[in-house]
């Protein structure tokens, strides 16, 4: 039996004595099961990745992408975006560093779109909480949107909307320090990664689980069928709009998506909301404002908006 489920049963029905089937029991059960499952998996994934140190530093990605043909650099940018972690604070230096290395603007944008949506944590959590099929659909559409968004910006030739000072910055050469080498160094590094990454993510994750639990327990199924069901053509664009001011990490969105799918909200609408929350956010836009001019920000937001709405309608049609 699923140990997380067993503990959730124990807490909700035995310890708290909540009657099975009541909204509170459902919410508490969801909260306990998801908190345990997500945090155990989160620690395990971050530790494993930290141990093998298979993640790439942005400095390395820059060297890989610089001065290559677009045929190589576009797919490579979305692929590397998916496996390279960077905090939203680093998006400005990353943007400048890529352009300085001769990486085209469109390719850089592809990387910036794909990176926050897809990462190894989201992949494992989606597969275990919602299902492998949904995970594959999410990853595939995320990659396609990153590729399409970057290609569109490339075609439109918007380099003149990049702030002038960006082109003048010259990056220095440096030998970055080596990573851990011995077994004990690797273990220490992996544990340090767990403390740092889980320490940064936990408020988003807990917040996401709490929202998911409330939706799961208290909001009736009919509410979603009426407002976010397949019959409402505005549900998808509204989901994308709602996701822009909302800012969370891809990890924190997963429990919310799980609860919404459980309530019968169509797959496309959930995908559109998830991608909008993870990839389009006010803090990200404020960051990018330092390096690109307003019209390019508008184009960036518009392209992603159209792409997410298209993803929503497409998958609602496919799965209905």
């Amino acid at each position: 039996m699923d140990p997380f489920l067993a503990v959730a049963d124990l807490v909700a029905y035995t310890l708290l004595g909540l009657p099975p089937g009541s909204p509170t029991a459902a919410a508490v059960h969801f909260f306990v099961e998801d908190s345990l499952k997500i945090f155990v998996l989160l620690v395990a994934i971050v530790f494993a990745i930290g141990f093998f140190r298979s993640m790439l530093a942005p400095e390395k990605v820059r060297r890989i992408l610089g001065g290559r043909s677009r045929l190589f650099s576009f797919p490579a940018a979305v692929g590397l975006g998916a496996v390279t972690p960077f905090c939203s604070c680093s998006s400005v230096p990353l943007f400048i560093g890529f352009l300085e290395a001769g990486v085209p603007l469109g390719v850089t944008m592809s990387f910036l779109i794909a990176s926050p949506m897809i990462n190894e944590i989201a992949v494992v959590l989606l597969a275990t909480t919602i299902g492998v099929e949904f995970m594959l659909v999410y990853v595939a559409t995320g990659l396609v949107v990153g590729l399409a968004g970057g290609l569109a910006i490339d075609r439109l030739r918007l380099e003149h909307w990049v702030e002038d000072y960006v082109w003048k910055i010259r990056m220095g050469q440096t030998q970055l320090p080596d990573g851990p080498a011995t077994l004990s160094e690797r273990l220490a590094f992996a544990w340090h990664q767990v403390r740092e990454i889980v320490g940064r993510l936990w408020p988003y994750v807990l917040g996401g689980i709490a929202i998911g639990a409330v939706l799961h327990g208290y909001v009736p199924r009919d509410f979603f069928l009426e407002y976010a069901g397949a019959d409402n053509p505005f549900a998808v664009p509204l989901a994308v709009l709602a996701g822009i001011p909302l800012y969370s990490n891809a990890t924190g969105v997963i429990p919310v998506a799980e609860a919404l799918l459980g309530k019968g909200v169509p797959v496309g609408t959930v995908l559109a909301l998830m991608m909008s929350i993870a990839a389009l956010s006010l803090p990200e836009i404020i960051m990018l404002k330092k390096v690109i001019k307003m019209p390019l920000i508008a184009v960036f937001v518009a392209i992603l908006f159209v792409a997410f709405v298209a993803v929503g309608y497409l998958f609602n049609a496919l799965y209905s």
């Binding site: 400005v92 003048k168 910055i169 010259r170 220490a188």
Partner: protein
């Protein structure tokens, strides 16, 4: 005396790293000149893209994420 620069502008992480280094230096009695670099051109000139970065006497010793307490101690004592 070591010349230490912390690279990075936006998030609280950089301030935390500044504090880690200052506290450790005080505890060890090490003499340092600590400086925070927020200018993007100056940060990039060190070849660093992921912040916070740490530069000691002109050499990049750390880039991206929080350094461990052990690492900070090693920088100050070496």
């Amino acid at each position: 005396m070591k010349d230490i620069k912390v690279l990075g502008g936006c998030c609280g992480n950089c301030d935390t790293v500044m504090r880690m280094i200052a506290d450790k230096a005080k505890a060890l009695g090490a003499e340092i000149a600590l400086e925070k670099v927020t200018d993007m051109a100056a940060i990039m000139a060190h070849g660093v893209m992921s912040t916070p970065g740490v530069v000691i006497d002109g050499k990049v010793v750390h880039a991206g994420g929080m350094p461990s307490a052990a690492a900070v101690e090693k920088w100050l004592t070496e």
